[in-house]
């Protein structure tokens, strides 16, 4: 009998039921997840499979997990499916997005135009990708309290970045179009918060002070939304 037959071990994330707190902050890379986990009380690494790293700790007395999900629908779909099977219920992804030079402040993503293939495999084309509204409104309020300028807006979720002719000003990401309908179908709540920038910044991903400030916002939202 194989390892995955003996338990409910998730085959990519290498976690079992109960390993994931109901509230989960999602990042792209294990290094980013560890930086966010370092902000938590009592954080410890729960598991690592491929580039999917799971950490759990406490933020304002509430148990929170931090999970790296990679980039793009296929990777994010695997991570979310397995995280939910292991106990996740509220998911906030913090990421970068491609945008024009006039966009400087983080964007709380209220909806996404689905140009990606993964959501097309899962759902009818006309199913809208929309954030959990209370989470989005809480994010706006928590940002205001923290003195952070944010705006609420729509992104387009793409599978391809290089060689794309584009005269549409909406920012581009690679995940929200899949994450929103997938979370809804799993009866979970989801939000994406992105830092806009150019291609080089998008590729580097969240780092430094930006990673920490958006990470703290996500932690405040994900624990504050219960109150």
């Amino acid at each position: 009998m194989s390892e995955s037959e003996k338990t409910d071990l998730q085959v990519h994330l290498r976690i079992v039921s109960g390993d994931m707190a109901p509230q989960v902050v999602l990042t792209r890379t294990p290094e980013q997840a560890e930086r966010i986990a370092d902000l938590l009380d009592g954080a410890h690494k729960v598991a690592r499979g491929r580039a999917f790293a799971t950490f759990t700790g406490q933020w304002a007395g509430t148990e929170v997990s931090v999970l790296s999900v990679g980039l793009g629908g296929p990777s994010v779909s695997i991570a979310v499916e397995e995280a939910v099977r292991a106990g996740a219920r509220t998911l906030i992804l913090i990421e970068t997005a491609l945008a024009g030079a006039t966009e400087r402040d983080p964007i709380v993503v209220t909806s996404a135009a689905r140009y990606d293939g993964t959501s097309a495999e899962y759902f009818p084309a006309d199913l809208p990708a929309v954030a959990d509204v209370p989470l989005a409104l809480t994010a706006r309020e928590m940002a205001r309290r923290a003195g952070m300028e944010v705006r609420l807006g729509q992104v387009r979720s793409f599978d391809r970045l290089y060689g794309v002719e584009d005269d549409d000003s909406r920012p581009v990401d690679m995940s929200a179009g899949l994450l929103y309908p997938l979370a809804a179908s799993l009866r979970c709540r989801a939000l994406v918060i992105v830092q806009p920038g150019d291609l080089a910044a998008f590729a580097r991903g969240l780092e430094g002070d930006c990673l920490e400030s958006i990470g703290r916002l996500a932690l405040d939202v994900i624990t504050g939304s219960d109150r």
Partner: protein, 255 residues
């Protein structure tokens, strides 16, 4: 100013003309352990890399992460940085009954079942592997005594729709591919072949098989020793491609 790839952080001088491309960053370390010498090694997140020498040939490995979107991003960068040949190494979900752990699947082409290939204009144009790369892989399998099957793989975006762990019934979804003779399911080859064709690279894929997913639904094992064998075969093929005279069929002349 030295140009670096945005996602990989690599420079042209960091890379050999032939790159082994796994999805799993851990597999780059497995490649590194098989090299005779290491020239450079590093990376983080989904993108680890190593360049070194094996049997007199300079070879690199760079990991892409899971899925066609990140595969396309990385392959575009590798093309920008002067790479000529990209060889995907990985695992797959077997569809045909003659497949099992220990057998290697060599892709002749891929079903473009993913969004990235469609974004690259895949439609009537098939996503095909480079025939000389396929030949090098077959010769390497034979030289290493490794069982193998050559044919079409299906690249898809949604593991949790077309695997035994899917919430719905995956059997109906995969039956059409089984009936079409498709060997296996995986997540990256179609984008690799599409981007390689666009950018003038040569590409191929060799995948370690598991048990057929309809017969052994809960078993995800491909066998650690089989993955090691796959890396050895891929490196052997890379060495052959770096030394063009080795590819000549015996007695067939040199043109």
């Amino acid at each position: 100013m030295t140009t670096r790839g945005h996602f990989t952080g690599l420079r042209a001088e960091d890379l050999a003309p032939t790159v082994l491309l796994p999805g799993d960053p851990g597999r780059v370390d497995a490649v590194a352990m098989s090299l005779d010498t290491i020239e450079v090694q590093g990376g983080s997140g989904d993108h680890r890399f190593v360049t070194g020498m094996i049997d007199g040939a300079r070879v690199s490995s760079v990991s892409a992460g899971i899925g066609c979107p990140v595969t396309a991003l990385v392959v575009e960068e590798l093309a920008d940085l002067g790479v000529r040949t990209v060889l995907r190494i990985g695992t797959c979900g077997a569809l045909q009954p003659d497949l099992k752990p220990g057998v290697m699947v060599v892709a002749s082409a891929a079903v473009s079942g993913d969004g990235t290939s469609r974004a690259y204009g895949a439609g009537a144009d098939p996503a095909v592997a480079d025939i000389d790369v396929v030949a090098a892989l077959l010769q390497a399998c034979e030289a290493e005594g490794v069982p193998h099957v050559t044919g079409v793989v299906r690249s898809h975006d949604a593991f949790y729709l077309e695997s035994p762990w899917a919430r719905g019934d995956f059997r109906d979804r995969v039956q059409v591919w089984i009936d079409s003779g498709v060997l296996a399911l995986e997540n990256e080859s179609s984008a690799l072949f599409s981007v390689a064709a666009l950018r003038g690279l040569s590409a191929g894929s060799i995948l370690a098989s598991g048990y057929p997913i309809l017969d052994h639904p809960a078993d995800f094992s491909h066998g650690e020793e089989n993955k090691v064998r796959m890396v050895r075969v891929a490196l052997s093929a890379a060495v052959r491609m770096a030394q063009p005279t080795i590819g000549l069929v015996q007695g067939a002349g040199s043109s």
